[in-house]
Amino acid sequence: MPNFLEKLFSSFGKKNDSARRPSDPDATVPLPDLSLIARPPDSQVTKISEAPRRLILGIAQDVGKVRSHNEDVLLVFTGELDGLEPMPHFGLFIVADGMGGHSLGERASGIAARTAGRIVMEKILPSLLADPQADTERPSLKEVMENAMESANMAVFTSVPEGGTTLTCALMIGEQIILSHVGDSRAYLISPDTFEQVTRDHSLVQRLQELGQLSAAEAAVHPQRSVLYRAVGQGENLEVDVISRRLPPGTMLLLCSDGLWGLVPDPRIQEIVHQSPSPQAACEALVAAANAAGGPDNITAVMVQLPKT
């Protein structure tokens, strides 16, 4: 089968190429204190030039210029396994933006992110690290994500009943992305030629726009633009948006809180991302842009990209 052999050799060639690539630029960046970060130890090793091709991550978070509290939470896990039977690139990215006075918001967002993260890792990791030849019972990714959201909802509802939070989770297995989402934090897919908001805000003004009752420009300055009709922790039942998408190499996934997108318009986000040399630089520039626009709210951005094959 000559075609197959060609493919085989060409993929060997690529592997060798990649081994000579310098380490990813984000590896040297200090991690923000305010985020919950758990990454495999190898990703924090900065000086190994033969690092395997791994996903490229950027994260930035800031309390903003006005608030004293940070109610945003950012949770990131990534996993890589290289070798004879490599594991697909694995990533879990969670952004939660809490609300409710008296530190209720930061507690709600923290509990939601930790609970959702724990459930996803509990359900995904054993299968991810199982013998690839073995038969393992695996839940569907959609079920895992819905389960994580439901658990997060119950956890917030029982421990911080007066608080609430947005919760946007992105699970990445290879090029497969599955998002679960409630509230008005956002996920964008950004490539050189496309810019797409993947999540839908569960906000009053978004609904009014969908009904043709408000224009985007009116919504951006509407006095009630921060009113949500759906959030985590408001009752025992929660309707969750689950969205499955592909993330081909070269396309970036951006998750952010409204402290970013509410201050930096979409075209400007797109521009900053395209002008930035790396996802990390892009995240930092985006946070800086939100602060430059007044920084009235907490700002969180996480951006991920698959390595070029």
Partner: protein, 647 residues
């Protein structure tokens, strides 16, 4: 139970501090009103129950509403007090049985007070929360008529209409004589403090135009419609997406409600104010007429005198209404075989190739249905052919894969497996991939007809494999699903609970496949992770088809349905019900999806709406899958015929 208190708390506690009740029982206002307790606490102040001491010999109770003046600017404070006094004066002149009487008002420092009639009773929200079942339609209609009456009174106020602006169950009291009383007039609404930070929960009852700063009489009608919707469905609109009433018609939750009342509510809830009732009076008349018509007392007055057209001609909501044009579809041509056609025909270069249970592979002219050739095998042909350049491939129950010249029908080579072949071949990368009941997937060289390799499954392989640029995907009858590379090496496997007879479809990095375990699976093609599962009610033998623009995957099920599923979230977008099992695989062409059913019909269904375009009835069950070329649909039937129909 819906916890409505929760969300109101969340609304008032976020962003701004909750107003504390400033007066304790025993406090005396104006040396006249002796506070006895708190009736309610709102964002702007509290409402107290008080005794009017000007009537020392009798107990005259009053409600004292407190409004906090939160403005810090002295000029602003004065404007607020003036506004309050002007509105109090207007309210004091109102004279309607549903409007509480205003007795007095005064301002002390940064507190303004309104003294009004004390109403013994409960508000409608409390009534609703205490009701064990649904509220009675006639009771709600009676309340609605009374509410229309008071709204009509307010809207006809001279010189300017009074807009209530906050119609909702908790602002409507039912007194001890079962009369409706409107409480909480919007006297304080002019000075709501600016909001800060993200808030959860919307007003729920307010009309869309209110968010553009418009408040007029039609807005009160919308809020009344929302109130009635809440009362009849027990769905609190503050806990639902805003303005989602049209997606949740009353009768969907509470089928006991009449079509007529639902139509009145829908009219009141139109987004566009001009499409609602022209006045509260006309809404009241619609309700009163509806009640008369329903009870049969008076049917003489025509409904359409008072009602907008939406009420008299309710839009059809059934999605499965069958077109009467169905029987008029005439085939372009019909070709008769000697046995059933179960596989999908293949159309290529103006020729239809079909494998038939009479052991023959037929080649028929696609335009006129004339036989070109037939090729006999030694067994039935349950599968579908594949073509590569000028060779047609088909598996037979005679255990062989046959390679036949597309032009002449002459055999090129045959390849033996060790069991009957009930699967369909896939041609890729110079090889034919085909499963067999011998439990193997075979990779056969396209030129020589020799085996390159075979890969063992657990049970018979009856699907048509899917092939990407370097991987092969197939399932088997025990539910195992395999991903192999081109050397036959396994990359991953997945297990369904029952057989995978359905042929996998590869689209945009995901595999879609149905199973006899009733599920449709979306599998990530490089890792085998199930992205989502979609549950039908019976086995899925049908193979999926995709519509990329609308992100839909279509698949039939033995539960008689054709499903359209959103590939992005695994949710049903629509389903179409036939009168028999749908084991046929759907085919998509120009906005229409075609599928056969055991009920003997071929259906053409609009992709976007899920509504029937047309149907064609054959003389036998259609388990064969349609094939489409040049806007002609070719489908075989168990009535032994192959039909060519205009798409």
């Amino acid at each position: 139970m819906f916890d409505t208190h929760k969300i109101t708390k969340a609304m008032s506690s976020s962003g701004q501090t909750q107003a504390e009740s400033s007066l304790q029982p025993g406090a005396n206002l104006q040396n006249r009103y002796l506070i006895q307790g708190v009736l309610g606490v709102g964002g702007m102040g509290s409402v107290y129950k008080a005794r009017d001491m000007h009537f020392p010999n009798v107990t005259k109770l009053v409600a004292v509403k407190e409004i906090l003046n939160l403005a810090s600017d002295p000029g602003m404070r004065e404007i607020i007090v003036k506004t309050f006094e002007r509105e109090a004066n207007i309210l004091a002149t109102l004279n309607h049985p549903a409007i509480p009487k205003i007795y007095d008002y005064f301002t002390q420092g940064d507190h303004s007070f309104l003294v009004q009639e004390y109403i013994e009773g409960k508000d409608l929200e409390a009534h609703l929360n205490e009701a064990t079942g649904m509220l009675d339609e006639d009771l709600v209609t009676e309340w609605a008529i009374q509410l229309c009456d008071v709204l009509s009174y307010l809207h006809n106020h001279q010189p300017e209409p009074i807009v209530f602006r906050d119609m909702k169950p908790s602002n409507v009291m039912l007194d001890n004589h079962s009369h409706i009383r409107l409480i909480d007039f919007g006297i304080a609404r002019g000075f709501t403090a600016g909001q800060k930070g993200t808030m959860i929960g919307t007003e729920g009852y307010s009309p869309p135009e209110q968010y553009r700063g418009e408040a007029g009489p039609p807005g009160d009608l919308y809020a009344l419609g929302a109130t009635l919707h809440h009362l009849l469905t027990k769905q609190d609109p503050r806990l639902e997406p805003p303005f989602s009433f049209s997606e949740r018609p009353v009768r969907k939750t509470n089928p006991a409600v009449s079509v007529e009342l639902e139509a009145v509510i829908n009219t009141a809830l139109n987004y566009n104010p001009t499409e609602r009732f022209p006045s509260a009076q006309s809404m009241k008349e619609a309700l009163a007429n509806m009640r008369r018509v329903k009870t049969g007392i008076l049917i003489t007055q025509k409904l359409d005198q008072t009602l907008p057209t939406t009420l008299t001609t309710p839009a059809p909501t059934e999605t499965t209404s069958l077109s009467t044009a169905g029987s008029e579809v005439k085939p372009i041509w019909v070709f008769r075989f000697e046995d059933e056609v179960r596989g999908s025909p293949l159309v290529a270069n103006g020729v239809v190739y079909a494998g038939v249970y009479d052991n023959n592979l037929y080649a028929v002219n696609a335009l006129d249905g004339k036989l070109l050739w037939k090729y006999a095998t030694d067994g039935g042909l349950p599968g579908s052919p594949a073509i590569n350049q000028d060779i047609v491939f088909i598996g037979s129950e005679d255990k062989r894969l046959h390679a036949v010249s597309a032009k002449s029908g002459r055999v090129q080579w045959t390849y033996y497996t060790e069991g009957p072949i009930r699967a369909s071949p896939r041609v890729a990368e110079g090889h034919v991939f085909i499963g067999s009941d011998d439990v193997y997937l075979h990779a056969v060289n396209i030129v020589s007809g020799r085996r390159a390799w075979r890969a063992q499954a657990v049970a018979a392989v009856r699907c048509r494999p899917a092939v990407s640029n370097n991987l092969i995907y197939f399932g088997c009858e025990s539910g195992e699903f395999y991903c192999l590379d081109f050397s036959g090496e396994q990359k991953w496997r997945f297990k369904a609970k029952r057989a995978l007879t359905s042929s996998p479809l590869l689209f945009n990095g995901n595999i879609y496949v149905g199973s006899v375990d009733n599920m449709v699976y979306a599998l990530e093609a490089t890792s085998g992770w199930a992205v989502w599962k979609f549950r039908t009610n019976k086995p899925v033998i049908s193979s999926p088809a995709v519509e990329p623009k609308l992100n839909l995957v279509f698949v039939g099920s033995a539960d008689n349905m054709l499903y359209a599923i959103d590939i992005r979230n695994g949710r049903e977008v629509w389903h179409f019900e036939t009168d028999g099992q749908v084991t046929s695989s759907p085919a998509v062409n120009k906005g229409v999806v075609y599928v056969g059913s055991v009920d003997q019909c071929l259906y053409a269904i609009d992709i976007a709406s899920g509504k029937l375009r047309w149907k064609f009835r054959s003389e036998g069950p259609i388990t064969s899958s349609p094939a489409i070329a040049n806007d002609i649909v070719y489908v075989g039937s168990n009535d032994h015929h192959l039909y060519a129909l205009t798409a």
